[in-house]
Symmetry: C2
């Protein structure tokens, strides 16, 4: 009946049970990123994730210790891809701007990354340490004295993670479809309604708000700090 011994052997020897897509840390993290991107920060659930991976919630715990590690791994994957090694032929200032913009754009695409960065400490936290390292090397390249290298790199990092948190919060504050200028216009209107005594400054600048470009504004802040670190790009 069976005219091919080898075929039959390979077909029956072991049940093999090779699933179409065996579970793995990588596949889990990948699915978590997709879930976070599509369903938002609250959408990452072990049940939803298990469903997407066609398994039970308990299976995930074989590959990952818990939700914290999962969120951490997802953030690290995005940040690592967003912050590439510095190009060789740029000024330190431009390399710093490129690193900062990389983080900025990653948060724009994945707002939940901003939330994670804003609430993570540098105590062995890979994503934020990665950014700190890139910024710090360029601070060294600027030739600032060793004693202030930490201060300068920290200032840049804190500013970047501060913006990260703000942008994530803004993304959370509006329904997913809303575009930038619509959001800014609404915010400007709300600011213009504030108490004139208590919020004099905020009301003053409310009118400028809708014309702002977040990316430009972000870079302007970086440049403010860069100026503080090294007053001019090249010695006069």
């Amino acid at each position: 009946m069976c005219h091919n011994g080898r075929m039959a052997a390979t077909r029956t020897r072991r049940p093999e049970r090779r699933r179409e897509h065996p579970l793995s840390r990588e596949r889990i993290v990948e699915a978590a990123i997709e879930l976070l991107d599509t369903a938002g920060e609250g959408g990452l659930t072990f049940r939803a994730l298990a469903e997407r991976l066609a398994t039970g919630p308990g299976a995930i715990y074989w590959h990952v210790t818990g939700k914290d590690e999962l969120l951490h791994a997802a953030t690290d994957a995005v940040v690592a891809a967003a912050v590439p090694p510095a190009a060789a032929d740029t000024t330190p200032q431009d390399a710093i701007r490129a690193t900062a913009l990389g983080v900025f754009d990653a948060i724009d695409a994945h707002p939940w990354v901003g939330t994670q960065l804003a609430r993570s400490s540098m105590d062995m936290d890979a994503p934020i340490l990665r950014i700190f390292e890139r910024l710090g090397r360029q601070v060294q390249a600027l030739g600032v004295p060793r004693a202030v290298q930490f201060t300068a790199a920290s200032a840049l990092l804190n500013y970047v993670v501060g913006v990260a948190g703000q942008n994530a919060a803004n993304a959370r504050a509006v329904e997913p479809g809303t575009d930038r200028t619509e959001f800014l216009t609404t915010m400007a209107a709300a600011w213009a309604d504030l108490d004139p005594e208590e919020y004099r400054f905020v009301r003053d600048i409310a009118g400028d708000l809708p014309r702002h470009d977040d990316r430009v504004e972000f870079l302007a802040g970086i440049d403010l700090i860069l100026t503080g670190i090294a007053p001019r790009e090249r010695p006069a």
Copy 2:
């Protein structure tokens, strides 16, 4: 039997039911702050809060719409107390430093405030808008052109909330008792163990870490931005 008609009347006229401590928004927010301070960010629970207030969890919803509003109100109470109106006889720079330090110290005392500030948007968020207003007024007092006032005030705010998030994360990373230098020493040791290729800068400065004073470092960052905004305190 009853020799005092008036007393008896007041005792029986209405059941009165005047509780020792009637529930109120203020008492709820106050209890929430205590709970957050003592039990940490995860300690604020409607059940725990209800127990502390000797009532059921449902009762709280009569005075507050939900957990978000409660967290918001608690943060606002702390921030409002921490950021007093500017003194009249100081330079704008000193007023900015005072505001920033007020926030810094508030987070030191209530780490959960840092988490909240780092994840709140300026879209009508009272606590963060309060800080923005104070910083912005002083930026105006510096005499910077109107077009860059927003940029300058935003840079300061983003830096402050970035540090806020970092400090809250650091507080979360250690058990409540740990003191500052112990934490920094542990972190420095971890940094010194990182991959020498990938984390050259972080390893380089790891040794400086235990000697750092967070407050001094924080102010140095503020001064970097202030220098960027207005290169010298008074025109030469």
